[in-house]
């Protein structure tokens, strides 16, 4: 089968899976919201609930469509979704699409930079640790990786703030720009980005270092590595071109499977550093029981995960010719 054919089949197969998944997830969200003991109108009004007349409350309820049956609410929401209308956020008092639209870029910036940093650091450090297996550098690296695997991200973030902002005073502790500034400049954003990106990459790269180390150690024992050495290839070529390259295949799939963790990490890191991204708004939406925003965020995260898996599998198909011939298992 050609490469394009294999990719097309993969995408079609995934889409067939993703539509039911999204339907089930969104239906479950509506069911949970229905079962919730909270009255969203009361939650929305807050203190004003005491001075709001029942007629006005009923009016709000009707505006939000809460007086209609659950199935109808759900179908209306789905219909609006298809036309690009995600509803009105109850905590930001603005359309959900607008709230997400202006914040998504900041989240992509931080997570994107973190992914790049994590891949670079993970591949280099993991390979070096495998190459020098048993040395003090290897033991130090695996020790740190195990510890960071066990430590909560937000805790690492707080320690980073304490070291680099409070004690050393090198970097700002949070936010997008300095407190007094009215404009967003590239330099300022870059300076504010360093800590969140580093913390996210650090906490996410521990498994990567351990995984790359383990696979490269396995690959270094294989016959083709001995063969490459016997042919007199340079050690660097053997390591990068033979051992690492063959160890990377299963890692592509795993990378896709780690996207949910990345979303979790992004939520926590954005909260710690008060980064104005979309992941951190999940917390604010949850505290305010802002259902339209929460629903949209859950949908967004699910789509991100599915897309991530798709990209990982597509990369696998491109990297491994066997899947083209035999199909994706």
């Amino acid at each position: 089968m050609s490469l394009a054919g294999a990719l097309a089949r993969l995408v079609a197969w995934r889409l067939a899976f993703v539509v039911p998944l999204l339907l089930v997830v969104t239906a479950a969200m509506f069911a949970l919201a229905k079962a919730s003991p909270f009255d969203p109108v009361r939650q929305y009004l807050g203190e004003r609930a005491l001075v709001t007349s029942p007629e006005i409350r009923e009016q709000i309820r009707a505006n939000w469509g809460l007086d209609r049956p659950l199935a109808e609410q759900y179908l209306t929401w789905l219909g609006n979704l298809l036309t690009g209308d995600l509803g009105e956020s109850r905590s930001f008092h603005r359309p959900v699409a607008e709230v997400i639209g202006e914040r998504l870029g900041w989240t992509m910036l931080v997570t994107g930079a973190a992914i790049v940093l994590m891949l670079a650091a993970g591949l280099v450090l993991g390979t070096l640790a495998a190459y020098r297996q048993g040395s003090w550098a290897d033991r130090l690296l695996t020790g740190i990786a195990y510890a960071s695997e066990a430590a909560p991200v937000f805790w690492i973030g707080l320690i980073a703030i304490w070291i680099f902002s409070v004690t050393l005073g090198w970097l700002p502790a949070g936010g997008l720009t300095d407190a007094g500034s009215a404009t967003v400049t590239v330099g300022e954003v870059a300076r504010h980005m360093i800590l969140p990106v580093a913390v996210l990459a650090f906490s996410q790269s521990s498994w990567l270092v351990l995984f790359v180390r383990e696979s490269v150690i396995g690959a270094l024992r294989e016959d083709f590595v001995i063969g490459a050495r016997a042919r007199g290839l340079r050690e660097r070529t053997v390591l990068a071109g033979h051992a690492l390259r063959s160890a990377l295949l299963p890692f592509l799939t795993l990378l896709g499977a780690r996207i949910p963790e990345l979303v979790t990490g992004a939520i926590l890191v954005e909260s710690v550093f008060s980064w104005p991204g979309v992941a951190g708004t999940a917390v604010r939406a949850a505290l305010a029981v802002d259902f339209p925003l929460l629903a949209a965020l859950t949908l967004l995260a699910t789509v991100a995960v599915v897309l991530g898996n798709l990209v990982a599998d597509a990369a696998y198909v491109i990297a491994d010719p066997r899947t083209r011939v035999l199909g994706v298992s």
Partner: protein, 297 residues
């Protein structure tokens, strides 16, 4: 046996000695991990019984004191002892973690047994559900559940249970699939046993060790999840000393330079998690014959 290192130098003479040291190091780390867990377990049970002061005791006169002999981990901004409060916090987090792990293993166990024992379309459908749950960010799902049902211990337990059962389901299903082919199951069926009897008398007892292991490994995950939710202000009520609440409280004094109220509770998450990981790794190495034979080379 000569062990060739990656640099190509033979290390025949050093081989056996290195193996001996490695084994001793493993034994030492296992003993250390088990000892730490026992110590923490004892502290969690005994300290609340004999503690000289109440962990909730607010003493603004001794607020935000750095670690000293009287307060080994310092005091927080309300003058509460961080060590004592961390032990109480670990107790609460451990309790929530244990219940949540039990809930998720129970859900996963039922799903896994049903999928493995019935097979066919039921199995395939259930495994798709597992895939679906795995492709959702667990924390976001937890946030959603907690938001809809008011932050409380039960909401946290339910949200952990609903998101973490998939691992147990996978383990149980694969174990049931391997049990299905055993001769004694054939014999039981030949003797006229029905499906329910096979599940009850043969599958469930054989699965109990696996469920126990899965539950043990789940506890750190559940604690992590609880801590993250509490840290975000969506977990246990703020007056309760949970590790996540403490780290959240410590966030405020951190900017004033007081690191101890948030750093020490974090260590109470990190250390037990590492200890459980060390023990689990050791268990896996012991029960996986392939790894063992490789070690012996």
């Amino acid at each position: 046996m000569s062990r060739t290192t990656v640099t190509g130098k033979p290390r025949a003479a050093a081989g056996s000695r290195r193996y001996g040291t490695a084994r001793r190091a493993v034994r030492r780390s296992v003993r250390l991990a088990a000892g730490t867990l026992v110590l923490l377990g004892l502290a969690v049970v005994v300290v609340p019984l004999v503690a000289p002061v109440d962990e909730r005791l607010v003493d603004l006169g001794s607020a935000a004191l750095p670690p000293s002999l009287a307060h080994p981990f310092g005091t927080d901004e309300m003058g509460r002892d961080v060590l004592l409060r961390s032990i109480y916090g670990l107790r609460v987090s451990l309790l929530v973690g244990l219940v949540a792990a039990a809930v998720s293993v129970a859900i996963g166990g039922v799903v896994g047994v049903v999928a493995g024992a019935l097979g066919g379309i039921v199995d395939r459908l259930l495994m798709r559900v597992v895939d679906g749950f795995n492709s959702l960010p667990h924390l976001l799902l937890g946030i959603f559940i907690v938001a809809m049902f008011a932050p409380s211990a039960w909401a946290v337990i339910v949200s952990v249970g609903l998101t973490h059962w998939t691992t147990a389901a996978r383990i149980v299903r694969s174990e049931v699939l391997s049990l299905r082919g055993r001769p004694y199951i054939d014999a039981a069926i030949g003797g006229g046993a029905g499906r329910m009897r096979i599940i009850r008398r043969h599958f469930v007892p054989a699965l109990i060790p696996h469920l126990g292991l899965a539950a043990t490994l789940m506890v750190p995950h559940a604690i992590w999840h609880e801590t993250a939710l509490s840290f975000l202000g969506l977990g246990l009520p703020p007056h309760l000393a949970s590790l996540g609440n403490m780290i959240n409280d410590g966030q405020r004094s951190l900017l004033a330079g007081a690191w101890w109220p948030s750093v020490f509770p974090g260590l109470f998450i990190l250390v037990p998690t590492l200890a459980v990981a060390v023990l689990a790794q050791h268990w896996r190495d012991r029960t996986n014959p392939r790894r063992r034979s490789e070690l012996n080379l």
